[in-house]
Symmetry: C2
Subunit: 390 residues, 2 copies
């Protein structure tokens, strides 16, 4: 018998957060206990979660949600609740928390992540922008405090599982798989004309809108290259991408001798979440078993760097170093929002990011303030580039 | 710097033995040193090996090869040489040997294997009959003496690599891949008429004749199921087979949660041999790197148990237990020899094995003598079944 893993979930009402609570429900209170749940403003979903999991702390990062929250849950049922962005840090630093699961989207999760690592807590990381923007700070802090980072992205979870039991010095490279998204087979011309609806029609994964657009541009994979660079201490040239439309092989690692280890499963975020919450144990899951003979074939193709310039942009940001990845991430966030709002075309996203990187002299070894400043600058830069075009 | 791995190779002039010496040559004397080389009667190949690797001991299991050997190598170049079957045990028990690589074919390698394990030596095992016939004795002895068994079969090496770093209790099943052999797409009728040449035309692996016929009948995979049963302590139902004609995925393991880890590489026995001789280290190898995007697709299909009854026979032998797997193995060896001699048809092989198992009341928990007796009995039984048919 092990003691239960006491967790805080930042972003509990989003797609990862709700799936994480499915995992928690299945593992049961002997294995996992929920200490804190934080949402943005989805008070009804959060109320159901609080009634079921009885956390000591709840949080709503949107201050304006306070009234709805208080009217929804009678005081007797309502846990201590923190409102505003500081709810994230309050949950991450709550006493008797072992693991902080960051399922927030964007750089907003960064201060809470650092606060959790400062306390030596295990980080179950689903918020890729945290590593993309501040990977150097995050990994150095984790190393200094002896805190473990368990990735929840399916690709990084795969790499993590493949590397277990093998000496880091034996690794030659990792190969991240990419579904290829809805435009895998599209011509450049069709991509120029792609609508919001076209781009949101992801063939395999059910995800949030922002991540689905990132998948359509393959910036998702670009961000993952940057994440992997930090998580596994690899140079950009040690991180390859292969397009694998079935999303069964979640990533691969190649050792010095040429032997390759891969992780496979049916595509369901339940598994990387379970892996992070139960690691190093494994427990039966309701996810259907992989039946390769029924699937019949797994296909692989090289990514088309011309149609998907975001891959090269990510490598360029790694090479520029310092604040460049934070700028790439912020520029992408604004550009994707503009695309979702119907203001710009799909291929404008990479164009805007490239022009923003062009205009950015990166600060080497930045501190948190410099990263946040670069993030702010990049957002303004993309907005002003958009305005000058509209 | 680690100390060199001092090895004895039993069966150094066969396909595995010569490939093992390629690995030894590439690793260099700082990493591996050859203490003993034993062949059957290939004196010219053995002489070249002895001149290059300068073992302290040579062996020729065929007594009749003595004269040719002594005339080929002048006394001053000739290491201490042992003639006859005891050469295998002499090499396995030679002083200053860390690892015994058994690349012999058939039950002949068994006494030397046990002698090596008795001394706590690492066993690099390419002789599958050793585990098939005497798996219970071999694994119990290895456990008692703290000796490590490193499999060299590509499938078991794959499973071994996939299991590294994962708790045995987390394992649900393993999935051995099979090329499907030359008759993967053949009709039952075509298999009835198959010639020796048809059966020797293996699509992917270059191997000895016996193993190639085993691949054509899929008894190769049947024997591997029995091996895996012993090596990894799994029940027959925990060992599945999937046909994978490209021979790129060498096997897979499925954990309790549904996550699957696979090992892949271009098909070349160099890699499992290197893995066993260098484990837990990895070294660069001349084996071409795996390029999934160039390969394009990996295919999987269920094995056809009707056309390949050897799979069910292997599971039946596991279920019968005791001496039954030794009987299956011996019956198969004689039946394959009869097929290679042109005496019987391909599908007679499984038929003869089935009838031999039918006639065998297995001895539970057999000792070595009982296993060897069952082996002898099965050989005679198949010979007499053949004679009565011819």
């Amino acid at each position: 018998m092990t003691t239960p893993n006491r967790i805080a979930i930042l972003g509990s009402t989003g797609s990862i957060g709700t799936r994480a609570l499915d995992v928690v429900r299945d593992l049961g209170p002997q294995r996992v206990q929920v200490r804190a749940l934080v949402a943005h403003n989805s008070v009804e979903v959060l109320a159901r979660q609080v009634r079921e999991f009885r956390p000591a702390l709840a949080g709503l990062t949107c201050e304006g949600a306070r009234e709805a929250w208080e009217s929804l849950l009678p005081a007797v049922e309502r846990p201590l609740t923190v409102y505003g962005p500081e709810a994230l840090t309050a949950a991450a630093t709550l006493d008797e928390v072992d693991t902080v699961l960051t399922a927030t989207v964007g750089a907003v999760g960064l201060p809470a992540t650092l606060a959790a690592l400062e306390r030596g807590r295990t980080l179950a990381l689903a918020n890729k922008e945290v590593l993309v923007c501040a990977g150097g700070i995050v990994t150095a802090l984790a190393a200094r405090r002896g805190a473990r980072i368990l990735p929840i992205d399916s690709e990084h979870s795969a790499v993590f599982q493949c590397l277990a039991g093998h000496a880091p010095a034996s690794l030659r490279r990792i190969i991240l798989t990419a579904s290829g998204g809805p435009f895998r087979r599209a011509t450049l011309d069709a991509m120029r004309r792609a609508t919001r609806a076209d781009a949101l029609a992801h063939p395999t994964w059910q995800m949030g809108e922002k991540i689905t657009i990132d998948s359509a541009t393959m910036m998702n994979k670009g961000l993952e290259i940057i994440e992997a660079h930090h998580l596994f201490g690899l140079a950009g040239e040690q991180i390859d991408v292969v397009v694998h439309p079935e999303s069964i092989v979640h990533s691969l690692v190649e050792f010095l001798d040429g032997s390759v280890i891969a992780q496979l499963s049916v595509p369901d975020m339940y598994l990387p979440i379970l892996n992070a919450l139960a690691w190093p144990d494994r427990h039966p899951s309701p996810v259907p078993r992989l039946d390769l003979a029924s699937i019949g074939q797994l296909t692989f193709e090289p990514p088309d760097e011309e149609r998907f310039p975001c891959l090269a942009l990510a490598r360029r940001a790694i090479a520029m170093g310092g604040t460049a990845p934070a700028v790439l991430n912020a520029a992408n966030e604004i550009a994707v929002a503009r695309f979702l709002a119907g203001d710009i075309a799909l291929l404008d996203i990479s164009e805007l990011i490239a022009r923003t990187l062009d205009a950015h002299p990166p600060t080497p070894s930045p501190g948190l303030e410099q990263i946040l400043e670069a993030d702010r600058w990049a957002r303004q830069e993309v907005e002003s580039l958009c305005s000058s075009r509209l």
